[in-house]
Symmetry: C2
């Protein structure tokens, strides 16, 4: 790809649009902006611009489009697949200063926000008003813009679905600087192709999201968590399809092994309620009546105890729930802290295939002599698998990583699984998306990309380009 | 547009693919296939082909693409905007023979179906197994393929969302005959642009849907309907935002006036439980515990009685619910039977704007001297408005229709509303979509259309072409 290099005139233009204090070049750019949380790729943008309003984004896009300068939109940079790394240099648009909650509309049950608002701020704001934004990814310090761009999922997808299901409307800026409104506060929409749904999950390659109208629900009045120890992981996971089949749908069904819990205890310096068993299921039930929740969890507890569970610990106070879920939220960081380097696989498989998939991971660990840790969303089939470098030499590790990834993605594919459940494709997972979709599928994605961005300036090198 | 006319060789090809008894030409084509339920446009396809499997669709598309023959996919033809009319002639693909329920997967809670399965067959099949497919459009004899292609909504969208929310995976045939799988049985997906969501609601212009994996829920154990009479429509509708704000979310909130109820009584030859009041709200609550449902509907009944409701009739047996909802399901046919001809508007506005919008319809009725009847989904802001010809001369009616439509769509637009909540754009609503999206928005849709179908052979003349 042939892009213009940033010149002194370009910087002057950006400074004229945003003011000098929000434009930053060369060695003044903080190292944080050269990478994300995990992907291993690194490149500094030529210029970092902190934008504060849609009009600025539009002016910058229009200019960059004429000049053929690549533009990488970025939130908190908490991604794991290189989606927010400026791999062709150019302009990085830091959207975190666009962090206002603009409107709570209680009669339409919508919240209008700028893209830089953090997920934890949204939940705090709405829950104080007895409202609920259900998507619940582990990384609470991510921006909502990043969540929309990866179609983030999280723990509560079993019952409530994913980010896409809670985005009613978007304001976007196209590659040529045009501002467009998609959807809105309306509940239904059959008015032409769903551009809103095409933008959700497009990882900043089709447009820059500058505003979002989110759908809210009433906050469920009661939440109960069950922590269920098992003598081994297989028995734990094999219970999950039986739970789904029982028609008592939990809000969340997570699985975890003792080694991950021990890592989290080390990392947080706090004990988990129980770490004596080899494996655990962690379930949540929510609703508005105690009767309804009790009926559901008693049925599920009975199923688990009938299929090898050692016990059922019930946690029904906010404090106890918090203790368990804080540990769950720290798994990624805890695993990261336990090794020298790592990479991840975020496949999603039909939920009844999870047990088989995990057995295969154990085989790969032995076959390749590489430590693999995993945990994840047993209830929705989305696994988080970490391949750890430990003391391996770089070259050896890279080879093992590639071999393990190839086998894992092929296995997922053979089960009707897909490359990513919630982290996205970004830069790092492109080869696996190509294998999964085939050549003509990727060509179709590229044609859609060009329909939005004919000069390929928006987050180039990601997803399909 | 320059398309090839069907030749004797084309017919021979189609007969070789499908057998002579499934290919039908010229005057042997039933009149039903020349129009849909309402749109007023009429054109016969040159040849009608009843397809029974994906491979046939693929062979026909590949051939038609090479020969530049337009192809119009069609289900039951129950649409209202001309989406399934072959306005450029060519081949009509009748997908109704592809009507098998292929697999119920209870461990993944999915149902795999062919596109010709009727909505009423799906609900009957799953409800017999205590499962639930929530989308509930009034037209139960529509095919699921048609529902997917219009992103049909229906009554239960307030609580459960629309068709899009229940499509997990699709098998499609592209314009060039390639067969592609999108999504699958997985609950989460962030693997490239969401082609699945682009196809949902694309009205047969991007691909032919040949199979769908639907998401099911457990069937709620208890359903209660409330029929709430009001002295006038305004007070009825103004209660709805208060209900939403109260955080007791009903499954459905419909509104109706006495004149529509009387038309339905006439049409069905059956009395409605009450028709003494000028206007009604019809609400449903569902769930698994009586306590939960009672809490919700008692709160809502209290709100209604505090805001002008004359009474609250509770219907909690399947028989009584059936009587009310059968009448509701017959409104369209009843209004149609009460006049000589009619056309419809299916706008969706933010739900707190419904009362204002309806007041404006009354003004338009008086201003233009044309009878307008309406009912609709007060809980999701999607209105069904029928402009009736009665004894008006054709030319006068057409003029009035255009003037009324222009005012209505402009008014919806000014409220942040959109052209169609669930019926789609098809042929009839294209001018209004263009006004709503603007020129560059329509150009973007056209570029997406060409990314899928460069020769514009798939359902041409619809949505954006």
């Amino acid at each position: 790809m042939n892009y213009a290099e940033i010149t002194r005139e370009d910087i002057s233009f950006l400074e004229a649009v945003c003011g000098k204090d929000r434009v930053c070049c060369g060695s003044r750019i903080n190292e944080d902006f050269s990478h994300d949380e995990l992907s291993g790729i690194s490149r500094y943008p030529e210029v970092l611009v902190r934008v504060t309003e849609t009009g600025e984004v539009a002016e910058i896009m229009s200019y960059a489009n004429r000049r053929r300068i690549p533009v990488t939109p970025r939130g908190q940079g908490t991604g794991l697949v290189g989606g927010s790394v400026a791999i062709y240099g150019g302009i990085m648009l830091d959207l975190t200063p666009m962090n206002r909650i603009l409107e709570l509309d209680q009669e339409n049950l919508t919240l209008t926000v700028e893209p830089g608002v953090l997920l934890m701020e949204i939940s705090k704001f709405v829950e104080a008003r007895e409202l609920f934004y259900p998507p619940d990814p582990g990384e609470k310090s991510a921006t909502i813009g990043g969540n929309i761009n990866t179609n983030a999922g999280g723990m509560r997808a079993v019952k409530y679905g994913v980010t896409r299901d809670y985005v009613r409307g978007l304001e976007i800026v196209l590659a040529d600087g045009e501002i467009m409104q998609l959807g809105g506060k309306v509940v239904k929409n059959s008015s032409g192709y769903s551009l809103k749904d095409l933008i959700v999950g497009s990882e900043g390659t089709l447009a820059v999201v500058t505003r979002a109208v989110l759908r809210l629900l009433p906050l469920p009045r009661k939440t109960v968590s069950l922590l269920i120890p098992y003598p081994d992981l297989t028995r734990a996971i094999e219970t999950v399809p039986l739970i789904i089949k029982s028609k008592s749908i939990p809000t969340a069904v997570e699985f975890m092994e003792r080694e991950v819990i021990l890592a989290a205890e080390d990392f947080l310096g706090k004990a988990f309620p129980d770490s004596s068993a080899a494996a655990y299921l962690l379930l949540t039930f929510d609703g508005n009546s105690r009767e309804e929740i009790e009926q559901a969890y008693e049925k599920v507890a009975h199923i688990c105890l009938g299929h090898g569970a050692l016990d059922v610990f019930i946690s029904d106070t906010p404090e106890r729930n918090e203790a368990i879920w804080t540990a769950r939220g720290a798994f990624l960081e805890a695993i990261k802290a336990s090794t020298t380097a790592m990479d991840e696989c975020d496949v999603v498989v039909p939920r009844k295939c999870v047990a088989d998939f995990i057995k295969d991971i154990k085989r790969l660990q032995d076959e390749f002599g590489v430590r693999i840790m995993n945990f994840g969303h047993a209830g929705d089939g989305n696994l988080h698998i970490y391949i750890l470098k430990d003391a391996l030499e770089e070259k050896v590790w890279v080879q093992k990583l590639e071999a393990v990834f190839n086998k894992m993605y092929a296995h997922a594919d053979s089960m009707g699984g897909l490359v990513s459940g919630e982290h996205g494709i970004g830069y790092a997972k492109k080869p696996f998306l190509e294998k999964s979709m085939g050549h003509s599928g990727m060509e179709l994605l590229k044609r859609i990309k060009l329909a939005f961005d004919p000069n390929n300036i928006l987050n180039p090198g990601k997803v399909c380009q």
